[in-house]
Amino acid sequence: MSLRAAVLGLLLAALSCAAWAAGPERALSGVLEAIEANRLDLATRRVEALIAAHPNFRLAHLIRGDLLMARAHALQTFGNVPKTVPREKVEDLRIEALLRLRALRDRPSGDRVPRNVLQLDADQHYALLVDSRRSRLYVFENAGGRPQLVADYYVTLGKNGVEKTREGDQRTPIGVYHVTANLPRQKLTDFYGVGAYPLNYPNAWDKHLGRNGHGIWLHGTPSDTYSRPPRASDGCIVLANADLEAVAPRLQIGLTPVIISDEIEWTDAESLERERDALKAAFESWRADWEGRDTGKYLAHYSKRFSSGDENYAQWSEHKRKVNAGKSWIKVGVSRVSMFRYPRENFVVVSFDQDYRSNNLSNAMRKRQYWIQEEGRWRILFEGGA
């Protein structure tokens, strides 16, 4: 088997999108294209340049090994290492190569937007989305509330995949999170690379489902490693140090959403706008009905499966009827509204600043609601402080 044949399986139709991409994936693709064209000298020069730029990029070393080995004798396979080396190690690198090349090939076109991000609030400058099937982190900029893709990076996720439920299950959670802190590298061991940003796993929904565990971080790689295999962490999201350094300035503690999904569902801007407008209308109607003090209309916005803290729908209804009866006027102001479709669930997380005033009570708080579609209309499944 020639090296050329060995990489053909890897080299998908990456060529057409190569111009868009930068960084190691493009360089990697350039190496494989040269092999595909049977220009092994060029491929060697390219892979050596790639290694010079990223001396700890193991995948590049593997391909360089193959290029050298091809001069000594015919190759058996991609990653033609001695048989004594565990095949899984090579397989990890092969999959990394595939994922990185696929990221080049499957780059979403400019008019596609992720269905998860219905609306960013004005203070959220960026949103991060993780597509676990692609081992990819996408960075979106807030362009007037609409997400605009600005960069994407290869990431390592949990050894056992996704949908974390228990402590120690070595899985990455699926859900809508945000970064809660910035742990400077001086306080970390080398294992975490240039920095770490804890996520708020388990969030309210996770707790509601009884999920546990902690310490899910976004972090870098050890100094002797450019990138780790696609499934290697204990549940954390691991970026190459250079990539984390590019992402870090865009992270706002407590604000920047990190949405981890099986697979990002891409849609067009108009469809997304329609969905957002429908939800916004329901949300506005809920606010207006609360101000209107028509408790029946107000409660119609809540699902029969609703819960808030210890209260179920019946308890909530009774409580609200009692409170509203004592009001001669209510004003509800909402601002900084964000709306994210929750992965694997059919609800949307709506977060907002609520400025509540009434004849006998006023308070301002950050609130979170889960909105779900039931019988063709949007209803609230959960409500609580954020």
Binding site: M1, S2, L3, R4, A5, L40, R58, L59, A60, H61, L62, R64, G65, D66, L67, L68, M69, A70, R71, A72, H73, A74, L75, G79, N80, V81, P82, V85, K89, V90, L93, T225
Partner: protein, 343 residues
């Protein structure tokens, strides 16, 4: 990897030319004696002989080369490297010092330097099969280092492993055992032309323990009249041989060789066939071309054909070498009795 101790016509020719040019024929007795002593493992005496020559002719390439071999054989890599390095500077047209320098570098784990020296050797002599073979080994070592980096194999262990492999290869080497270099592995397809058989024992670097007689030289006296018909038959045979090789039809290819074919490395027929089988069947495609054939028919009925052999495969870019085949008629067919690179 093979250091350059075996008698190679290329060096022999170069040395003979040097000898003739420098009118140093009188010294060849000392040189021959020194190389005999080296073969016998009597390094000190060999060194004394060589130094005697060098006392009067300090630039003598042959003597210095032999001195390098003695050092290498003693395991004195540093001195050996110095000798070969200086030879490459003084005689940049000789490929062998580059090759031996590379072997020393490789034995020290300096594979990039070894690669550079071998590439230089090949640039000097594009048909130098030994350098190709060694380069294949060096590439394999470099690849192994790259794989170590790729798979994060503990570098301490990897180093030890490489050394162990070296020792094992040494033990398995048929060439001078004490030479501080890796043994010949099955030759890589790059080195498709098998090592050529020895020429008469004029050769300096005759540290080769095999009796030279085993490799009787091809008769070099061309026949007065080469029958044109026989010549055409030989050319046709060689084209058919190249065709079978290109088709990777190993059985057909091997059928071109006489029963008493002198295997290039003196190995058994079975071992040689096994190696050829492996080398011919490993690539997915091979193309062998025969250009500018020149046939001479000897008085004994043997034919000697020299031609430009082009070789390329799916794994290796093309290389062109001069090849000589010696054929004899048997049962109405021309069969190959000897095969060597060069004339």
């Amino acid at each position: 990897m093979t250091i350059f101790p075996d008698p190679r016509p290329a060096l022999a020719a170069a040395i003979v030319a040097l000898l003739t040019a420098s009118a140093a024929l009188a010294q060849s007795d000392d040189i021959q004696e020194a190389s005999k002593l080296l073969r016998a493992g009597q390094h000190q005496q060999a060194l004394e002989r060589v130094n005697k020559v060098l006392a009067s002719k300090p630039r003598d390439a042959q003597a210095r080369f032999l001195k390098g071999l003695i050092y290498a054989d003693q395991g004195n890599a540093k001195e050996a490297a110095e000798v070969f390095l200086q030879l490459t500077k003084d005689y940049p047209e000789l490929p062998e010092p580059y090759n031996n320098l590379a072997v020393i570098y490789a034995s020290q784990g300096q594979y990039e330097k070894a690669r550079g020296a071998l590439e230089q050797s090949i640039r000097t002599h594009p048909s130098y099969a030994t350098a190709y073979e060694n380069l294949g080994d060096v590439y394999a070592k470099l690849a192994s280092q790259a794989y170590d980096k790729a798979l994060q194999i503990d570098s301490g262990n990897a180093g030890a492993k490489n050394k162990l492999a070296l020792v094992r290869e040494l033990v398995g080497n048929a060439t001078p055992a004490a030479t501080a270099v890796a043994a010949a592995k099955p030759p890589s397809p790059v080195a498709a032309p098998p090592p050529e058989p020895a020429k008469p024992p004029v050769t300096v670097a005759a540290a080769e323990p095999k009796p030279a007689a085993q490799r009787s030289p091809a008769p070099e006296k061309p026949a007065a009249k080469a029958p044109a018909a026989a010549g055409a038959e030989v050319v046709d045979t060689v084209h058919a041989w190249a065709k079978a090789w290109s088709a990777r039809n190993v059985d057909a290819y091997l059928a071109f060789y006489a029963k008493d074919f002198k295997t290039p490395g003196g190995e058994t027929r079975a071992d040689w066939e096994k190696t050829r089988r492996q080398r011919i069947s490993a690539p997915k495609s091979i193309s062998v071309t025969v250009d500018s054939p020149k046939v001479s028919i000897g008085a004994d009925g043997q034919a000697s054909i020299t031609f430009r052999q082009g070789y390329r495969s799916d794994v290796l870019k093309g290389s062109t070498t001069t090849k000589t085949l010696v054929l004899a008629r048997s049962d109405g067919r021309w069969l190959i009795q000897q095969e060597r690179v060069g004339r």
